[in-house]
């Protein structure tokens, strides 16, 4: 009896010749799924679309994958929904993978549902857990109501089973030894000019300054309870003293106190898992907590003793956040001086 096959594809994302970090995170999950589903004959392939991205194809082949489907064409230089979806649709219809995984980036959140609609199949968004059950079905765990609720999703009767994963949901796994086969596809049979309805005019990306939130050992997060832009400066001082980074909630972002949207934590922002998270003036709405729940130690300072944030904390302080942050700054500076003089 022939072994049951399980082909998992990861659609990777590249911007200006660089792989998006989330693609590697997703790839790690694909490899894990195949390993876990040992009863099945599993294989992992990645799909890479771009213009002159041979080096990325090489790089990807070393991640423990069986194949790298590589489509190279000047028209694929930048992600564009029509061209990327057209190529992927033709590839998927030809190869019939069982599972298709995407990073839920700005591009991925367009490309994945587009493809799912074209293939009339199911897509689960922002999965926080993926498993293969005894029937060989993909079990996708997805958040709803800002992470307050998690639900299982199946895609029982259509194929492929599709899922997207938000950046930072999973940590990057080690690069595995081995080398997958690079399959260079002929773009001219996969992409036609009439597929493309929108023309990309410009792609602008900037490097955010400072330590990225997701790499910081200490995250100082501020919410509406910080009260003012002036008080916000205290959080930045504290982060500097602790060599950490400052994150924020949506209300604080809306007040214009923060460094920008790239510092927002939660379901519509970043997921962080620092050694220590210190929340200041944050009530602890579900959509924020979902982005910090895997942190090492969680501390919250909030005037409201009944704020949900306290329940999600290892330690909590019922007091004015500004006052506590000031005291903490003073204490840290004092102990540093003692250390220096001692």
């Amino acid at each position: 009896m022939a072994e049951k096959r399980l082909a998992i594809w990861v659609v990777v994302e590249q911007n200006q010749g660089k792989l998006a970090p989330v693609s590697i995170e997703v790839l790690g999950q694909a490899v894990r799924l195949v390993e876990a589903a040992s009863a099945l004959s599993g294989e992992v392939a990645v799909v890479l679309l771009g213009d002159q991205v041979e080096d990325l194809a090489e790089e990807l082949s070393a991640y423990g994958v069986d194949q790298v489907y590589w489509v190279d064409d000047p028209r694929l230089k930048h992600y564009q929904n029509d061209s990327y979806a057209a190529v992927l649709q033709r590839l998927v219809e030809r190869e019939k993978p069982d599972i298709l995984l995407f990073g839920a980036t700005g591009a991925g959140e367009e490309l994945a549902p587009t493809l799912a609609a074209r293939l009339s199949t199911g897509l689960a968004a922002h999965c926080t857990g993926l498993d293969i059950n005894a029937d060989g079905q993909l079990v996708m765990k997805v958040p709803a109501f800002g992470g307050r609720v998690l639900g299982e999703i199946f895609c029982p009767s259509t194929s492929p089973q599709m899922a997207s994963i938000k950046p930072g949901t999973f940590t990057v796994t080690e690069r595995r030894v081995g080398r997958g086969e690079i399959v260079r596809e002929d773009a001219s049979s996969l992409l036609f000019d009439e597929d493309i309805r929108l023309e990309i005019m410009d792609v602008v990306q900037f490097e955010p300054s400072g330590l990225p939130l997701e790499k910081a050992d200490v995250v100082i997060a501020g919410g509406y309870g910080m009260g003012s832009k002036k008080n916000w400066g205290l959080l930045e001082q504290l982060a500097a003293e602790l060599q950490g980074a400052v994150g924020c909630t949506r209300p604080a972002l809306d007040e214009g106190w923060t460094a920008g949207e790239h510092t927002m934590i939660g379901t519509s922002g970043k997921t962080v898992r620092p050694k220590v998270y210190l929340g200041c003036g944050i009530s602890g709405a579900a959509h924020h907590v979902a982005g910090i729940k895997d942190s090492g130690v969680i501390i919250n300072v909030n005037r409201d003793a009944l704020a949900p944030a306290h329940a999600y904390s290892d330690y909590c302080v019922t007091d004015d956040a500004k006052k506590v942050v000031e005291a903490l700054l003073e204490e840290i500076r004092r102990t540093k001086n003692e250390d220096d003089s001692g």
Partner: protein, 381 residues
Amino acid sequence: MPELKFTEAQEMLRKAVREFVEKEVLPIAHRIDVDNECPVDVFKKMGTLGFAGVFVPQEYGGAGMGLTERAIILEEISRHAAGFAMILMTHHLGVEAILAYGTEEQKRKYLPDLASGRKIGGLAVTEPSGGSDVGGQQTSAEFKDGRWVLNGRKCFITNSSSADVTVVTARTGEDAKGRPAFGAFILEAGTPGFAPGREENKFGLRGSGTGDLLLNDCEVGEEALLGAPGNGAKLALATIAKVGRTGMSAISVGILRGCLEEGVKFAKERILYGKPIAKLQAIQLEIAQNRVDYEAARLLTYQAIGLKESGANCDAEIAAAKYFSTEAAVRSAKRTIDLMGGYGVMNDYPVGRYLRDAMATIPSGGTSHVMQLVIAGQTLA
């Protein structure tokens, strides 16, 4: 007796006003109190949304709603900033006087600007000789060569320096029985001989500037006369009862809700003996009383306004609503300060301002004593 139930449109209005107040007024509520200045820009923004002309028919540029909707607006603003609501409440006095007594020409001339908030309105009746003693007014209006010449001093006039259009009452002569007769005049800011005088320093409802209006040979044409020459006293009393007292009552309901909410918030936040003080029965009793005062004031206020809108004669019901709600607001603010202990007297919390605002609602539109006299008069009649 049916339940007090707002329509779907009224509920939507409340939601819309709340959103505006939380975004635009709440952040500056403390500053309005400290600076005692009318935030004209926010007033104008409010005007574009129809708050300034809520009960003005659409043909004059208003929203075409009624006094209930106006009360909802005042209540929602006063929940966070009663001083700011007082500016709107006073503006409506001027608007109502012109709407109820103006000629078609006067209405077309003034209401579109007032209803859209481009101009701020006011009503000036009180004089050093007294407010409720309407007949004691000394300000005079003499008719000379086809023009009215006004002289005198109005005092305790809200919006005295911010109003663009003020309806001013003045003695025009005597009636057939020899009693003083009064007229009402529409005066525009900047009219020669008409100017704001000294500004009072109120301890409550700050932001709504209150002060003197000075009339020194202020000369206006016949078209400035609002209503018949002998109609001024009736105009003043009717406008104050219909729009003034109901407005003060609605403002008090807003303050009461602010007190209730602040008290609840504090009781849940403040930890004593290891648990929120909301768990203490003594605190629960205070919260219950705040709730009852709020509910009762709300019922009396909207009931009286509903009666007025139905055309009923309800001076006593309005007086009762105003008397009860303003006094209840004072009690409730004091009670909330008490339950907050030392924090209650700190300006970090708004409740001290609520108490000052509540105190200041009492004299406006007639003191509690006057309200009781109105109620007793109707009851004993």
